[in-house]
């Protein structure tokens, strides 16, 4: 089993941004996008997210699996629940509204009545902008951030050293445990174990996973005590930890942090001080359906 990280150095602008600034910006976008349903504000956040995503220079081939997952989520939430059933718009879009096809429409020689309203369709657009803004920001992180940087990033952002080091350590264990998993799987297969050929009822089928899961888990726990002893012998946790991977802020990182703070503050003021928190439909949108 070959485990590989999705990150590779692309020499993109994103590769030169400090991971701390990136996380601060990502969370500022998350809170900005979720603070309002106002379409103009959501559009602005969406454009900012698009620009940010383009800085990563990611290709479709790199990220298609993640986008496939997001497209399933978008289909369930927007197409099924907002457009078809209308349930997804409940609580945000006021009841009633202007029907797009008040007389129904003909398709394949049959007449259909479909209660889609102009307001619900606009809500679907707003929902799409909000979800895509957040997805664009967060989906790119594993592809554009070196796995060695996570521990030090969270440590420098204020996470306790032991916790940050746990994160760092878990990255390092992945290849070893993946190899152990494959060795165990091969060994069990040599004994006639077949994961996909489970027979019996649900409980029996679930228990078929046990011959694989138990040895891998127990081996990992047994070996962890040796690792802990080795770390203790080297004085782990006695002094403040230093990190091999160093982080350094440049002027553009500070600019990103300031921009994040300004963006979030502005959107919160617009949402809560100027009543732009709630969903609204622009007049030009109604004009499209006259």
């Amino acid at each position: 089993m070959l485990v590989s990280w999705n990150y590779r150095f692309r020499n993109s602008p994103m590769d030169h941004i400090d991971p701390r600034a990136r996380f601060i910006f990502s969370f500022a976008v998350l809170f900005s996008a979720t603070a309002t349903w106002n379409p103009s504000v959501l559009f602005a956040v969406f454009v900012i997210s698009m620009v940010w995503y383009s800085l990563g220079r990611l290709t479709w081939k790199d990220t298609r699996l993640g986008w496939f997952m997001i497209s399933i989520m978008l289909f369930t939430m927007i197409v099924i629940n907002t457009l078809i059933t209308g349930g997804g718009a409940g609580g945000v879009v006021p009841p009633g509204g202007e029907l797009i096809w008040p007389q129904g429409f003909d398709l394949f020689g049959r007449h259909f009545m479909f209660g889609l309203t102009v307001e619900r369709l606009w809500f679907a657009v707003s929902q799409l902008m909000r979800i895509l803004s957040i997805s664009l920001i967060f989906i790119m992180i594993p592809y554009t951030m070196d796995s060695r940087a996570y521990g030090v990033t969270f440590s420098k952002l204020g996470m306790p050293d032991r916790l940050a080091y746990t994160m760092e350590l878990s990255f390092r264990f992945i290849p070893t445990l993946a190899r152990n998993f494959q060795v165990t799987l091969d060994a069990q297969r040599a004994r006639g174990f077949e994961l996909d050929a489970a027979k019996g009822n649900l409980v029996q089928k679930i228990r078929q996973v046990a011959p694989l899961l138990i040895p891998v888990t127990m081996n990992a726990i047994v070996s962890s005590e040796d690792i802990a002893n080795a770390m203790d012998l080297r004085g782990f946790g006695q002094h403040k930890r230093t990190w091999l991977y160093e982080l350094k802020y440049y002027w553009w990182d500070w600019a990103i942090i300031v921009f994040s703070a300004v963006m979030l503050t502005t959107i919160l003021i617009l949402a809560y001080r100027f009543d732009m928190k709630l969903f609204s439909v622009p007049q030009w949108w109604y004009g499209l359906f006259k």
Binding site: M73, N81, G88, F138, M140, Y165, I174, V209, I214, A220
Partner: protein
């Protein structure tokens, strides 16, 4: 691997020394690897909810090593699994997975012998509570993040995730606990 089972000492629920750092790191890496290996199993029609036998790992690490280890195993493990799979970074689902490990960890204070009927029943209870709370937090956060309605959240996110988690947890956790009891006794370290 010295714990109450062999030493008779009372567990310190919130200890986070070198042992716990390593257990949490191993647990997170293991959770990520096994989740990644089983990622091909997805629930059709659900909101991207995978069938995860690996969910038993944060539950078990919580029961065996306490709430902090359980939480980190679920939280960091889910981050790593999503990174390996190319799914991105979804902090509210990572948090939910952390809670799935945290709640059984809280029960670890009253679980002394892993192969006793009472311990197993308590662990099973923790699986249900942990899954309900963890997947509840993750699923209901979709209302805030994506603007999803309550029906979508319940039927496309919460129920598929909660039901598969408790099925895997209820069946596999006792098996792991009994295996671990034997390992602890045999090791005698």
């Amino acid at each position: 691997m010295q714990d109450t089972y062999t030493t008779g000492k009372k567990k310190n629920l919130w200890a986070f020394g070198t042992n716990q750092v390593v257990y949490a790191a191993i647990g997170a890496a293991l959770y990520a690897v096994v989740t990644w290996a089983f990622n091909v199993w997805q629930i059709p029609g659900s909101g991207n909810v995978g069938i995860r036998p690996a969910i038993v790992i944060p539950m078990f690490f919580g029961i065996a090593f306490g709430p902090i280890v359980g939480f980190i195993t679920g939280f960091v493990g889910n981050i790593l699994a999503d990174m390996l799979s190319g799914y991105g970074f979804w902090i509210w689902w990572d948090l939910g997975n952390g809670i799935v490990g945290l709640i059984p960890g809280l029960f670890s204070a009253i679980i002394y012998k892993y192969n006793e009927k009472k311990s197993i029943l308590l662990a099973e209870l923790s699986v249900i509570l942990g899954s309900a709370l963890g997947m509840g937090v993750a699923s209901f956060s979709e209302m805030w993040v994506s603007g999803a309605d309550i029906n979508t959240v319940i039927f496309a996110n919460f129920l598929p995730a909660f039901l598969t988690d408790i099925v895997w947890g209820l069946v596999l956790l006792p098996v792991l606990m009994i295996a671990y009891a034997a390992v602890v006794l045999r090791s005698g370290r």
